[in-house]
């Protein structure tokens, strides 16, 4: 009885393992802007808001513009969780209705705060900025397309390090691109063109969904020579990777990009090149287990030698 229970328990654990996504530690201590932001979230945190109308003297309930609604939980998981809204936006937003000239307010760019700051040197903001300005997004749409388009100021969080599962990194990353490339409304905020269907463009890939859940878009859409973890130079589509073997071979480009951190860590621990991909995904052609390889060569070898000896003996008879 107990044995069955144990087996059941183990199975349940195994099946549920992917659901137990890392708990966020951010919520332990309150972010510094928390109190100030409550006021803004009262209106910008939900679909409807109420306010005292001084003219009529009544409390009125209205629908909020859905583009101006932000999830406070996402905000406090983001990299800028310690900010008050009014650190980036004018303090005059504390009044309602908001003064109309605030609409013309100039927004900060990433480099305004992060440029030249040694604290953030490891992110290489200047290099990323340069790369971004070479990308199709920037060259075709100039300043309409800026860093905030992908780095939502109200939710962007960092997924760049070995501590996340590759599947989590991939889905977060690709969701960023899908925000426009799978959503006509957002796409047309930038472009007059019709958004092409991702599935149709990529129908050269067998099992499109599996690929999109296992590799980042930038694996194929940025230069593979660049080993930056998050390459920001999106190349024109003609230069996208189409050749399967770029990934499906032992010298897979994924080693230098997507699997880089996991790879470095695994190598430190075990010095065993295959171990990384082995546990995260099965990339045909790239997952070759050295031991199994050797065993199969030995078995094939023995088979052939056996047959050869047999033939010789038959001929001698």
């Amino acid at each position: 009885m107990i044995r069955y229970f144990l087996i059941y328990f183990l199975l349940a654990m195994a099946i549920n393992a992917p659901c137990s996504v890392v708990a966020d530690s951010a919520e332990v201590e309150l972010p510094s802007g928390f109190e100030d932001n409550k006021r803004c979230f009262q209106c910008h945190g939900q679909k409807f808001y109420s306010f005292e109308n001084e003219n009529s003297g009544r409390t009125e309930r209205k629908a909020m513009n859905p583009n101006f609604v932000y999830n406070s939980q996402d905000f406090y998981k983001g990299v800028h969780r310690n900010f008050a809204c009014t650190d980036c936006h004018s303090p005059d937003y504390t009044t309602f209705p908001h003064p109309s000239e605030l609409r013309l307010e100039a927004m900060y760019t990433c480099l305004d705060c992060h440029g030249g700051d040694p604290t953030y040197a490891k992110f290489r903001f200047e290099v990323l900025d340069e790369e971004f300005h070479k990308s199709v997004h920037s060259t075709r749409h100039s300043e309409d397309f800026n860093c905030w388009m992908c780095h939502d100021p109200h939710s962007y969080k960092r997924m760049t390090s070995g501590e996340f599962k590759i599947s989590e990194i991939v889905s977060y990353h690709n969701a960023t691109c899908m925000e426009c490339h799978a959503n006509s409304y957002n796409f047309q905020r930038i472009s007059d063109d019709i958004k092409p269907e991702l599935k149709e463009i990529h129908d050269f890939l067998p099992n499109f969904e599996l690929h999109f859940s296992a590799v980042r878009c930038i694996e194929c859409h940025t230069s593979k020579l660049d080993t930056m973890w998050v390459n920001h130079n999106i190349l024109p589509k003609e230069q996208a990777v189409r050749n399967c073997v770029e990934c499906h071979s032992t010298n897979t480009i994924l080693m230098a990009s997507l699997y880089k951190y996991q790879n470095l860590e695994a190598r430190k621990e075990r010095g065993f090149l295959n171990s990384v991909i082995l546990n995260e995904a099965y990339v045909i052609g790239a997952n070759r287990n050295e031991y199994l390889n050797i065993i199969s060569f030995i078995i094939f070898g023995l088979t052939f030698v056996g047959i050869l000896v047999h033939i010789i003996l038959r001929l001698m008879k």
């Binding site: 183990l10 099946i15 067998p206 399967c244 071979s249 010298n251 199994l292 052939f304 047959i307 047999h310």
Partner: protein, 203 residues
């Protein structure tokens, strides 16, 4: 000369021919996928994937045909194992292959209308047809529809384990194929068994 026996009915020969061709395609494309590379010229990866998938699906249908055919025509009787004394019989047959046949001895289990296979053949056919081939088909179909695979099994990727099972079984089938074809050349003359498989008649 022993009596002529009609051992390989037409449906079996058709099954066997299709099976052989498909398995060879699967082995070649499978190896090409497993060892895909940019430096050496192999079958183009996407082409190999398509060929491998199509052949695998055809092989599955062909396998179902084989199993049904075996039951319907009664050919299954050659595949029923008599456990008693099995080890002895296998030993005897092995001894014949590794020594008796060089001394000109005659085969210990000659073919007759109730005994198509010698014990060693029987066991290897049962293992390959009712263990290896089903395993390779099931794991292959699972890889084709990975959404059905349990995502993680005790800390390992389910796809990873399935793929391992698939390539390992594929490998074992390749080994079977090599030995199978070689053993078939031990007829007298060498072409005898192949002729039987072609005409259906055991001479």
């Amino acid at each position: 000369m022993a009596e002529r026996l009609y051992l390989y009915p037409i449906w079996l020969r058709i099954w066997h021919g299709i099976n052989g061709i498909l398995i060879v395609i699967l082995i070649i494309t499978g190896l090409s996928l497993q060892y895909s590379s940019n430096e050496y010229i192999r079958i183009r990866f996407d082409l190999a994937v398509s060929l491998h998938n199509i052949s695998g699906i055809l092989l599955s249908f062909n396998y179902v045909f084989f199993v049904i055919g075996n039951f319907v025509t009664g050919n299954i009787r050659f595949y029923i194992l008599e456990w008693k004394g099995l080890a002895d019989r296998i030993f005897k047959q092995s001894l014949y292959y590794i020594s008796g046949m060089f001394k000109g001895e005659s085969t210990p289990f000659p073919v007759n209308k109730d005994r198509k296979f010698n014990p060693l053949q029987k066991v290897s056919y049962i293992i390959s047809m009712y263990v290896f081939v089903p395993l390779v088909i099931i794991s292959g179909l699972a890889l084709l529809f990975p959404e059905f695979i349990i995502h993680r099994v005790l800390g390992f990727s389910g796809i990873q384990l399935t793929a391992l099972l698939h390539s390992a079984t594929g490998f074992l089938i390749s080994v079977f194929l090599i030995i199978h074809i070689y053993i078939c050349t031990t007829g007298k003359p060498v072409s005898k068994n192949f002729k039987s498989m072609w005409t259906g008649w055991h001479e």
